[in-house]
Symmetry: C2
Subunit: 474 residues, 2 copies
């Protein structure tokens, strides 16, 4: 057998035997070449063969890492099956309580929606802030209210353009984080009492927004592989005549699911058929582990029906509160709503980000961030396999920093949440993400915030707490 194949087979056996674990790094080319007395190019050929067979993955700058393999891991959760009916939402108290618990710095923040603040170029951003404020033209304090600072708007549009998606600068609006963008967009296309289609499970900010605006929720089945079930969506539309759909197309919060491109295209057509606006929350799109940024649904929207929302909070500048909306045919309404609610995003934050993006450092930062998140994902999936019962199911996100762990049906994740918080570990229980108040066996884990060591200890602890979280009914 040729040398590179022999080496590849040997390593594959180590991986299959669990000697080399998912997320672990293969020896560097140079190391391996020296120890095996093989040329670097032979080792590289072996590694590429392992990659082609799905055993490892090349990571920008940091070599080759052992892949997660579907057959080694618990199964994916199956699609949710909510009743297609409208629900009044009232989750604010629970959400406030979970968020409050995270303010304690001694808690392992696996229940957090935030990424680890240590992963961001805060020093470089602060330089951009100082530089842009030193040369501030005072009139910008008046000029850069909605739709925002023209330099920043240009940079945002340019980024989409370079990724192959065209956005009209005229439809763009800088907002106080994606959260404001989403809220303004929702308000622009609904009236109190309207019904809105959401995912099941869905990000709780969406539930809060519906509650605040007096809207009813229609939860639609959502699959860890496919995202929102488009057939169920069509039934919901016909049955309840909703005013809008709200979903996350890329690395959904809380599932971590990625809607395939073909589904996005079908969704865009469905919207046109029903003349229905879509609020697209795409704040994790830049955090892909694959080769290319997955397109937003907005990329397939020729009718101006997609109100696309993005943010720098998850991928670059947490705390700066800068997001945006590209609201298609609704952009004028969204802009007017902002003029009456917050006037604009903060000028220092806007100028700092415009300056930082001009330096061209964003992509370098993102490559490093994605690599860290991917390693932390692998390590956490590994913990699930090592510490949790075999009948658990877990999503295997291809981007972002959330995964969804589903316990067997007789567990209640809210009981687990309470027990874990007492021990200094936070998780986000499933009922945070549902309009209804039923006990839910699934919960969200943030693998991007804790370090690999913290996460391992916390996951071990969680597993020991499982018995107390059996629901009262069982």
């Amino acid at each position: 057998m040729v040398q590179y194949k022999a080496l590849a087979n040997e390593l594959a056996q180590l991986i299959e035997a669990g000697e080399l674990r998912p997320g672990e790094r293969l020896p560097s080319l140079r190391d391996c070449s020296r120890r095996r007395a093989l040329s670097v190019s032979t080792v590289l050929k072996a590694y590429h063969l392992l990659e082609a067979r799905g055993f490892v993955q090349a990571t920008q700058r940091s070599g080759f890492h052992v892949n997660i393999r579907a057959d080694q891991y618990p199964q994916l959760p199956s699609s949710s099956q909510p009743d297609i009916d409208t629900v009044q939402v009232g989750k604010s108290d629970l959400i406030g309580q979970v968020l409050h618990g995270l303010k304690n710095q001694n808690v392992v923040p696996m229940g957090s929606a935030f990424p680890d603040p240590a992963l961001f170029p805060l020093a470089r951003l602060s330089q951009s802030l100082s530089r842009s404020m030193r040369k501030l033209d005072p009139s910008r304090t008046v000029m850069d209210i909605a739709p925002g600072n023209p330099g920043l708007l240009r940079q945002i549009a340019l980024r989409y353009h370079l990724q192959g998606f065209e956005l009209d600068t005229d439809e763009l609006l800088v907002t106080n984080g994606a959260m404001e963008a989403l809220n303004l967009c929702l308000q622009a296309v609904t009236r109190p009492g309207d019904a809105v289609v959401i995912e099941s499970p869905s990000f709780y900010v969406c539930l809060q927004a519906l509650e605040r605006l007096g809207l009813r929720a229609i939860e639609v089945a959502t699959d860890p592989r496919q995202g929102m079930d488009l057939e169920a969506l069509e039934v919901a539309i016909t049955r309840h005549r909703p005013a809008a759909v709200w979903l996350m197309s890329n690395f959904q919060n809380p599932l971590g699911s990625l809607m395939p491109e073909s589904c996005k295209r079908s969704l865009a057509e469905l919207l046109v058929r029903h003349q229905l606006p879509l609020i697209e929350d795409d704040v994790y799109g830049e955090l892909y582990f694959g080769k290319r940024r997955p397109p937003p649904v907005k990329a397939f929207d020729k009718a101006g029906l997609v109100l696309h929302c993005g943010s720098f909070s998850k991928c670059l500048a947490p705390g700066y509160r800068i997001g945006w909306a590209a609201a298609g045919r609704f952009s004028r309404q969204v802009q007017q709503l902002q003029l009456g609610t917050s006037l604009s995003a903060a000028l220092p934050s806007q100028l700092a980000l415009a300056d930082y993006l001009e330096t061209g450092a964003f992509d370098t930062h993102l490559r490093g961030l994605r690599a860290v998140l991917q390693r932390r994902r692998d390590a956490m999936l590994d913990c699930v396999q090592r510490f949790f019962p075999a009948d658990c199911r877990v999503t295997q996100p291809q981007g972002g920093y959330f995964l969804w762990l589903e316990l067997p049906a007789h567990y209640d994740s809210y009981q687990l949440y309470k027990a874990a918080l007492k021990q200094g570990v936070s998780i986000a229980p499933g009922n945070l993400f549902a309009a209804r108040d039923d006990a839910m066996p699934g919960f969200r884990l943030n693998y991007g915030h804790p370090s690999i060591e913290e996460a391992e200890r916390a996951m071990q602890l969680l597993a020991t707490l499982l018995p107390v979280s059996k629901s009262a009914a069982s």
Copy 2:
């Protein structure tokens, strides 16, 4: 006659004859003493006598200025007389149009709601920004979400304390400008369809907020001297059972009126009697021309019914988008609403202001700002007298930077607005500030934004345009 009295009389005659005009500076003590061969202390005694007689006013650091005297100026407008009835509001288009017109830098911005950005310590703030971001603890990006950065909250509470008003730090929330604070507070105490009492005329942000939340307006008579008419308010409450009252207690936008302390006290009692929440917009309270900061209604609120909103945008840091709410018994709801709409104000802005306030420079800045605004007010009132017909009426604000000019009833200020904008002058027409769509003869002038020279040219131009603004009916 003793020398100082003779000098005082002589100067008083010059003022009465119009040789020394309102806003003009008296010769410096040293100058006057040299020219008259009098001692400096004699001149000072004369100036103090003039001050006691109401002819002049001592301004911090910049000597003595000739006062506006009520009898020299057009009369105050009388109180508005709206029907006490509920109205659906729909003013967003008009508001958007007027704001858009102000983005043209060649327009004299007398219609603007913003102060002159050149009057703010932007360089010092930028130093505070750089300093606080250099030493940023990354965890603050997560910790300083609602209710906000603890250092800034402490500084805000401390300021009220030093001014003699106690605020509980626990009820404070940092917001994206007062605009967000007001909107969150309104939402916390209303449901769609509710009626809310507002002033007539009232700030258009209030009209926009009602429109967005599907609330009905009850406009209540508001007097340039007394503020909202409390008897009319009581009638409105009995007749329409509103969910809340919204008003500006200090230097109201657009009238410039200051509610007397006794009325504020009565209002606080009235709120308790009807268990009615008050949303108090107090963004101009720091811009007083008198000796002391006028108290907010919040100072008399023992029942936690006042949702008090303030901001740094008008008095310190435009563009930073930092305001606050002290929402009394509603503070938990308001905080939860913020967690679901914007999460928090921008961290760089929060930290910069906390740092700046700690330096103690705020009061020095404010003294200078108030002096400039007062001089600009005097100059604009003087222009009204010189250029406008004698049957105009105008408010004489004791703080802030707005005055309200009322043309005789057969004029339509919206026609004047349109004609003036074509000539490069912006004003804020009266119908911006009313829930109903009737033509209105009054309009708001911002004397704080244009320079005295710009304002003089613009006022002269406005006066020449009056004939085209006679309403169609006349």
